[in-house]
Symmetry: C2
Subunit: 393 residues, 2 copies
């Protein structure tokens, strides 16, 4: 059969963001309440009868609900994790029902700083409350309820997404069978916080930030966002990857002795920062970095990570990448060691990859194979549960 679709055969194809209005108030960790809120999300694949095949995808700092497929036939790039989500891919939409929300505080349709605050008739802006990974988990549970999903077959995420998977396992242990925690950490290091703080200062010290109330202004903190993204970008790549990608290649082939972009790496970072600044909200960027800083599931258990993960009932897959210096393998191993001490079932893979933190988004055969193999067992389990339910009814 010929593929008449404009998309690759293993793509989920054309997809549409949807929105769930949640009318149950949420009390946020910061103490504030949201009486009701919208959650933007996408789904791929089909939920089975017993609802045993649902997978929740949690996005990272700059992610959103568009994890796979295309919004338009002329889209050049698919969703951010299309490499791993689709028919026959690691998260196989031939067998799994995949749900990916935009986190609250986001800027892609879920309630966040750009949302109109009906109390003031202005966008929330900087008045949007600080949100945490715990808050996200509890708001994501509303999506599960919406679909009558009692238990996710798996909650999966990389980086800040992995933190959400870990928090799910701890906070709502009955509602998750597997947590896949990829390129993540049990909490940020002082260095991680420092980089976040510099990004925040870049945004907040931009005169166009207007203390966060820039929506009514003619300008927005574009310069600050560009700097924040450039800095983030460097921490996502390994020194080795940058060497391979750029080395000391000159943009014009010769030294210019001026402040134009002299080396390839400079123009690349400037360009990437520019693109990002046109597609992301500065207040959301601040919120996401704060959520990272605050993540520390052990804190509620007297700083004892073993105590925290002892709450979990699910099985775990933890994956790290050798050249990731943002969340290095030893940070993943802190999670693995705590899980082992708590006598949980955990698979751990440290993938030899030169690409740094970004590896979790990239086409690395060993990573994809391991990921796929682990997910294949989840599919078998989901199918078995579905069969049992059918037999019982």
């Amino acid at each position: 059969m010929q593929n008449t679709s404009p998309f690759p055969e293993n793509s989920v194809g054309l997809v549409k963001s949807q929105s769930l209005r949640v009318d149950t108030a949420i009390k946020l960790q910061c103490g504030q309440n949201l009486s009701h809120y919208d959650l933007a999300y996408e789904t791929y694949g089909t939920l089975n009868d017993s609802k045993s095949n649902a997978v929740l995808i949690c996005h990272a700092l700059s992610g959103n609900q568009h994890a796979a497929g295309y919004h338009h036939v002329d889209d050049k790039r698919p969703g951010w994790w299309d490499l791993c989500i689709g028919p026959g891919k690691a998260i196989d939409t031939n067998h799994l029902f995949v749900v990916c929300p935009n986190n609250i505080g986001g800027c892609h349709g879920s309630v966040g700083p750009t949302t109109l605050n009906i109390e003031t008739s202005h966008p929330y802006g900087p008045d949007f409350p600080i949100v945490t990974v715990k808050d996200w988990v509890h708001s994501q549970a509303q999506l599960a309820d919406h679909f009558d999903i009692l238990q996710w077959a798996a909650v999966v995420g990389g980086s800040l997404g992995g933190m959400q998977a870990l928090q799910w396992a701890i906070d709502l242990p009955h509602r998750i069978r597997h947590a896949l925690v990829i390129a993540s950490a049990p909490k940020l290091s002082a260095q991680n916080i420092a980089f976040n703080e510099i990004a925040r200062q870049a945004i907040m010290s931009d005169p166009d930030f207007h203390n966060g109330h820039y929506y009514g202004e003619r300008s927005y903190p574009k310069r600050g966002l560009i700097l924040a993204r450039m800095l983030g970008h460097v921490t996502y790549l390994s020194d080795h990857a940058m060497r391979l990608k750029f080395g000391r290649e000159l943009k014009k082939g010769h030294l210019s002795f001026d402040y134009d972009a002299e080396f390839q790496v400079e123009s690349y970072l400037r360009y990437q920062g520019e693109i990002f600044s046109e597609n992301f909200d500065a207040n959301t960027y601040l919120l996401m970095t704060k959520a990272l800083d605050y993540f520390d599931p052990a804190a509620e258990y007297n700083g004892n990570l073993v105590g925290a993960v002892s709450q979990a009932l699910c099985k775990f897959m933890v994956i790290s990448f050798t050249t990731d210096w943002r969340f290095a393998p030893n940070r993943s191993e802190e999670i693995v060691n705590a899980l082992l001490q708590a006598k949980k079932t955990v698979s751990y893979a440290k993938i030899d990859a030169p690409q740094g933190h970004d590896s979790f988004l990239l086409d690395i055969p060993r990573y994809k194979n391991l990921f796929s193999a682990y997910m294949a067992n989840i599919i078998l389990e989901a199918n078995k549960l579905n069969q049992e339910k059918r037999n019982a009814s």
Copy 2:
């Protein structure tokens, strides 16, 4: 004998910056000329009869000529390398004559962006030409000429200072007996350049930068300088050092859920950035980062570092620090390997230290001992040369 000085006994005590007017034009690597220029410098110790005991200290990105001692009796802090320069210290001023200039392009008395350009009656600002490590070496040679020093007993520097020591050995091989290259690299990596570029963009995108012509304005790019310094600071410290120093300690002891400095590391970086921004010139910061980016002594030898260092006639001491991720030990080892291939005499020490790149400025016993031992031989050599000269005359 009682120490009646207000300074520690092993301090060079009260010192004063001096200035040398150079009337020999310098043709810079960028193609531009400086027909004459001032070089600010300090000296410590006494030059011996044969001028065999002179040591040149080269400063790094944010350094200056004030390497040791105090400018005022009420100074709280001595010069930036006081730990290593003074009576009985590694660079022992009881035996050595130490010269430390402010590099051209600097902002502490040598010609630079803040200098009045007599052609325009305005400070040079952004019109000050791009300077390179090679340019610095050649301008520093004017200082040697001024003191009739035919050959430095040693040229010593850390980080960007180490690059100058290496370039001295290559460009003016007859004028240097030892090069001490500490916490340095033979050229920047793409990641190094990326961090520099972000710092530059922080400064240049600050509206108060006024394209570099901010001297006549009521404001200067303070925000950009703060960001640049905060970012630099993170790269000077190891992840481990930051963990030890700050961990995740909260500034107020509890989470505030706002954008005030929440963790100790945030307020520390903000404070350090603030101090720096009041004491350094933004145009100079740009120039110094460019000098780093452009440093690549192998480039003149078809990219062959062995070919470059083959020019050298001096002996080398190369020192790296295990947790330095700005210029990691393997970068120093590139220099060492090239020197060995070129059959040069090189001592190499990789010092086990948790403090990261900043280690070269810190009180690390093994580092100080090795440094002192190497310098002690230089003193013996200098004394021997002096004795030979005396006997001959």
